[in-house]
């Protein structure tokens, strides 16, 4: 099978083939998930060079640990867990902070405002993130921006599902309140 043919395969099938020696197919996994891993790097390190280095390191770690992937979670969840742990270790090693768990960056990159979001959406997300304790910001971030489920976020971060749920609930409530009475409301009620 060519690398082109791998586009139709599920992540887990590609992992099996890579473990059987089709190393070249790992490129497909990188192409599929690099934006998420890079985005995670941007959130932790706040600049593109570090985020790219981080993403490469995460994929190399994933490649060398591929034999330990047992398919109990989605490949992307497993990959992001490697990324989360790696980011925590890197930040600890650089004495940037006490670690990801203690202080997840408050300022978003590239920032909701810069993401061409509607103003009310951007403001609500910023406020929701700012209102959370540092270590829980990542839950809202993963839920809103990466589309991960409560269970997946719990798998990655190690936080209890109910804790994640309550923080996302609060953030969603703030988002809903912000959208009330906005131009969006008028649009949807038309």
């Amino acid at each position: 099978m060519s690398e082109k043919g791998a586009e139709a395969l599920a992540d887990e099938r590609i992992v099996t083939l890579v473990l059987r020696g089709r190393t070249d197919l790992f490129r497909e996994l990188v192409k599929r998930h690099q934006r998420r891993v890079h985005y995670m790097g941007m959130r932790f390190f706040r600049n593109d060079d570090d985020a790219r280095d981080f993403a490469q390191e995460v994929f190399m770690k994933a490649y060398t640990a591929l034999g330990s992937f047992r398919g109990e979670s989605r490949f992307v969840t497993w990959l992001l867990r490697i990324g989360f742990n790696h980011a925590a270790n890197r930040r600890r090693a650089s004495h940037d902070t006490a670690g990801v768990e203690e202080d997840y960056p408050e300022s978003r990159y590239p920032g909701p405002e810069a993401l061409s979001l509607r103003a009310e959406t951007a403001e609500a997300v910023s406020r929701a993130l700012a209102s959370l304790p540092g270590k829980y910001r990542i839950c809202v971030d993963f839920f809103f921006f990466m589309g991960l489920s409560y269970g997946e976020i719990s798998d990655i971060t190690g936080f209890p599902v109910n804790t994640i749920k309550s923080h996302v609930f609060r953030a969603k409530g703030m988002l809903r309140d912000a959208l009330r009475g906005s131009a969006a409301e008028e649009y949807h009620e038309m």
Partner: protein, 149 residues
């Protein structure tokens, strides 16, 4: 279901397609909640769509180059060389007791040479095992992860 309860369930809803049946039924008959749901869903979709890194970024070449370096390093010392080396060390340990040198050592020193000989052999085995593990750390990690369950 009342609107408050519907909103609570809506805000609790996970990132998964499809709502529970009672919520779907409520949304079907309540225009106000339907509008709120549509606004919220649109905002969440918007966040997911714009948040990821630029579409044109591509690190796949750099990652694959790193993997190629890793694989070529592994290929430098193929597994059968490691197995051959290990068997040679084991064979040496077993066969040394049949050698003339061993007989001479025993004749000259009695049982006194056995402790230093054991230390030397232990060092040789440790060095071999250390070199093997150091060059196969990824395999060792996978193996330990499997054992941890």
């Amino acid at each position: 279901m009342k609107c408050d309860e519907a909103m609570r369930r809506l805000l609790e809803h996970d990132n998964a397609p499809g709502y529970p049946l009672p919520l779907r039924l409520h949304l079907r008959r309540c225009a106000h909640c339907r509008a709120e749901e549509a606004r919220l869903r649109a905002a969440l979709e918007e966040l997911k769509a714009v948040a990821l890194s630029p579409r044109d970024m591509d690190i796949s070449d750099a990652v694959m180059a790193g993997i190629e370096r890793l694989e070529s390093y592994r290929r430098d010392v193929p597994m059968y060389n490691w197995i051959g080396g290990g068997l040679a060390i084991l064979g040496g340990i077993v066969l040394i007791s049949f050698s003339d040198s061993f007989a001479w050592l025993r004749g000259s020193f009695g049982g006194d040479f056995e402790v230093p000989l054991s230390i030397v052999l232990g060092i040789v085995i440790t060095l071999y095992a250390s070199a093997f593990i150091a060059t196969h750390l990824d395999m060792a990690e996978s193996w330990m992860a499997k054992r941890r369950g």
